[in-house]
């Protein structure tokens, strides 16, 4: 899961970044509206945390332009303006959720998880696939009720595959959603990682679709 954080306060930006990475997300950051708008316009993100009071271009304009251009990733607005008139304006611009500053990090993370789940069509906070269970809140994966020991990158990969189970995910797509912008991308690492994950969860669940990519599906069915 790759998240874009657009927040002009460097300290808060850093805290958000740390908390998100701790929860297993790949995080890109932007410190002003123009940079944020550009990133959101060109990179595929699974969710965006957007401050409204931004230098160079305000958050509502950024959001409106994304929506007008057909970018439909879930956007969570994070702002000091907490009157209902501000909220209504934010949702009107196309926001999916709204958190007012000052906030509790745990609450923000919970809202973000719900947003991502909703976007991929899962209603529950737990996502299952055959014997696997993804606990998004705890950033853990269970197999038959026993937690798997995963590195952060392996968790990211498995979590992304479980959100998109049944779909064929290309290697490029995986790279884009697992690594942040600054990461030195090398498709071989994906292959190595898929191999390691497959060893931990069992061969049948994570299949290679030749020439196209990978697919996570419960055994005995495509769904």
């Amino acid at each position: 899961m790759r998240i874009l954080v657009i927040e002009d306060d460097p300290e808060l930006n850093r805290q958000l970044c740390e908390a998100l990475e701790e929860s297993g997300y790949a995080v890109d950051t932007a410190f002003d509206g123009e940079e944020g708008h550009f990133l959101g316009d060109t990179e595929p993100y699974d969710a965006v945390i957007l401050d409204l009071g931004l230098p160079r271009k305000d958050g509502v304009s950024v959001l409106k332009e994304w929506r007008a251009a057909g970018r439909d990733m879930p956007v969570l607005i994070l702002t000091a303006r907490d009157r209902w008139s501000d909220k209504v304006a934010g949702f009107d611009a196309g926001a999916d959720d709204y958190v007012a500053k000052p906030f509790h990090m745990a609450e923000l993370l919970a809202r973000l998880r719900a947003l991502i789940r909703r976007a991929s069509g899962h209603a529950n906070s737990e996502i299952t696939c055959g014997p696997l269970t993804l606990d998004t809140a705890g950033a853990r994966v269970f197999k038959d009720g026993i937690p798997l020991k995963l590195t952060p990158m392996e968790y990211r990969l498995l979590a992304y595959m479980m959100h998109h189970q049944g779909e064929v995910i290309s290697r490029t797509q995986l790279t884009e959603h697992l690594y942040d912008q600054d990461f030195d991308r090398d498709s071989n690492t994906i292959e190595v990682m898929v191999g390691r994950v497959r060893k931990k969860i069992g061969k049948d669940l994570l299949q290679t679709v030749r020439g196209l990519g990978y697919r996570l599906a419960p055994p005995g069915g495509n769904r």
Partner: protein
């Protein structure tokens, strides 16, 4: 006292000044008029005396010894009546203009008294050489006297001829006229005073209008002075409007700055709170305590700034339905997982007499509660009842007991610490409604949960 009369009121200043000048003018005019009347009377009397004098001259002759004698008595019997006040006297003078008393000829009315001719010699004479004077005569009566010096019968020595008449009548007539003038001018002055008073009232009416409009501006019933003012005070009105505008701008800026400051503080506050949350030592506890205190302060001052914003925004209207729908859309996204069913019944033409932001704040808080605590069924109805709006927000949640309800309407109370958000927001709704002279009541809904009854002032429909 007099000073206060002058500085205390423009009207009394004008009235007093006009009255004073009117009184002075009237007194002068009255005096002048009676003086003119008196002189005219005297001139008439003098003319009569002259005619008598001429008649007298026509009736005298000189005998062989050079003494003057009367040929015929004058026709007026008053000259015969003793001490009647009507007299004549002819006195021959010596060459040094002194009277020769032994040859004096006089009217019988004088009896044995005589005028002192020598006294007349010292009097200033009119252009025709006569002395005209009003003074008490030989018998104590007030007389009008005409004394003329003439050379008679071709003699070198002049004669002094005096004709005098009773001047009391003259005086009486003058006094009667003066009384009439006084009465007339008093009446005239009274009329003038009333006119001045009315004039001042009429003339100063634009000022009173200005006063009324300024009061309306202060009470927020109008934004600017807009009356049709006369040219003389129009610059003042324009200056006042500028002042009002400047004042409003300053207020607006101050308000925005308070808002901006409070909002700007929220980000560093969020940073501190996050930092504090990750530490379990004394510093972390201290930070948590202080940040929560700071947060309350910020909220308090933001609310004050908002309340200040309410002053001067009267006359603004907001349609209710158009305000409800975006809020429901927003809430539907926030509570996506709950799939809440919403019924909206809103009278056409239900328009709130107040700021959109405030209606949004009230409805947002109430609907948020209904979405949050309800079991998935929310109903909002808005009815127009006279000049008030009845807005009902209902849900099928657990509702509130009477005690809980009382607590929820109190400031800063939070019933449910586990659900995120800053309290129920009912206290905010109550405060806002109160500012608009509305009310909030908590009731039980037919849906089973809480029903909040919000009463707010409605705008008249035709008023846009």
């Amino acid at each position: 006292m007099l000073r206060k009369l002058f500085t205390g009121s423009l009207a009394s200043r004008l009235v007093v000044a006009s009255l004073l000048s009117a009184i002075i003018l009237l007194v002068v005019a009255g005096a002048l008029l009676s003086w003119m009347f008196r002189t005219t009377l005297e001139r008439q009397f003098d003319t009569h005396l002259e005619a008598l004098l001429n008649g007298l001259l026509a009736n005298i002759e000189q005998d062989d010894r050079g003494n003057v004698y009367l040929v015929r008595q004058l026709t007026d019997p008053l000259f015969q009546l003793p001490a009647s006040g009507w007299y004549w006297q002819i006195t021959p003078l010596t060459s040094d203009r002194r009277a020769k008393a032994e040859f004096v000829l006089a009217s019988p009315s004088l009896l044995e008294r005589r005028f002192d001719v020598n006294w007349f010699s010292q009097r200033p004479r009119d252009a025709d050489g006569a002395v005209r004077i009003t003074m008490p005569g030989p018998h104590g009566k007030l007389l009008r006297i005409l004394e003329q010096r003439l050379n008679l019968f071709g003699e070198k020595r002049p004669y002094s001829i005096i004709v005098a008449g009773d001047a009391r009548q003259l005086r009486k007539e003058a006094i009667r006229f003066e009384n009439l003038v006084l009465a007339l001018f008093l009446l005239f002055g009274l009329g003038l005073a009333i006119t001045i008073f009315l004039q001042v009232r009429f003339g100063l009416r634009p000022l009173r209008l200005l006063h009324d409009e300024i009061a309306e501006v202060r009470e927020g019933r109008r934004k600017f002075l807009a009356g049709d003012f006369p040219r003389e005070i129009r610059p003042l009105v324009q200056e006042l409007n500028q002042l009002i505008r400047a004042n409003r701008d300053v207020l607006e800026r101050a308000r925005t700055q308070v808002g901006n400051l409070a909002h700007a503080l929220k980000t560093p506050l969020a940073v501190l709170m996050n930092e504090a949350a990750s530490r379990d030592d004394d510093l972390g506890r201290l930070l948590r305590e202080q940040t929560s205190h700071m947060r309350q302060q910020i909220d308090l001052h933001l609310e004050r700034a908002r309340r200040a914003a309410l002053a001067g925004t009267l006359g603004v209207t907001t349609p209710v339905r158009e305000t409800i729908m975006p809020i429901i859309n927003a809430l539907a996204r926030i509570y996506h997982e709950k799939s809440v069913q919403v019924e909206v019944e809103c009278d056409e033409g239900a328009i709130f007499l107040g700021e959109r932001q405030d209606l949004e704040e009230m409805l947002g808080n109430l609907l948020d509660n209904a979405f949050k605590y309800g079991g998935g069924h929310v109903r909002i109805a808005c009815r127009l009842a006279g000049n008030m709006l009845d807005i009902m927000v209902e849900d099928d949640g657990p509702g509130l007991s009477a005690e809980q309800g009382k607590q929820a309407l109190r400031r800063g109370q939070r019933l449910d610490e586990t659900t995120p958000g800053s309290g129920l927001g009912l206290a905010i709704v109550k405060e806002l409604a109160g500012m608009y002279n509305g009310s909030v009541n908590l009731e039980t809904s037919s849906l089973g949960g809480l029903r909040v009854h919000l009463r707010l002032p409605a705008a008249r429909n035709n008023k846009r």
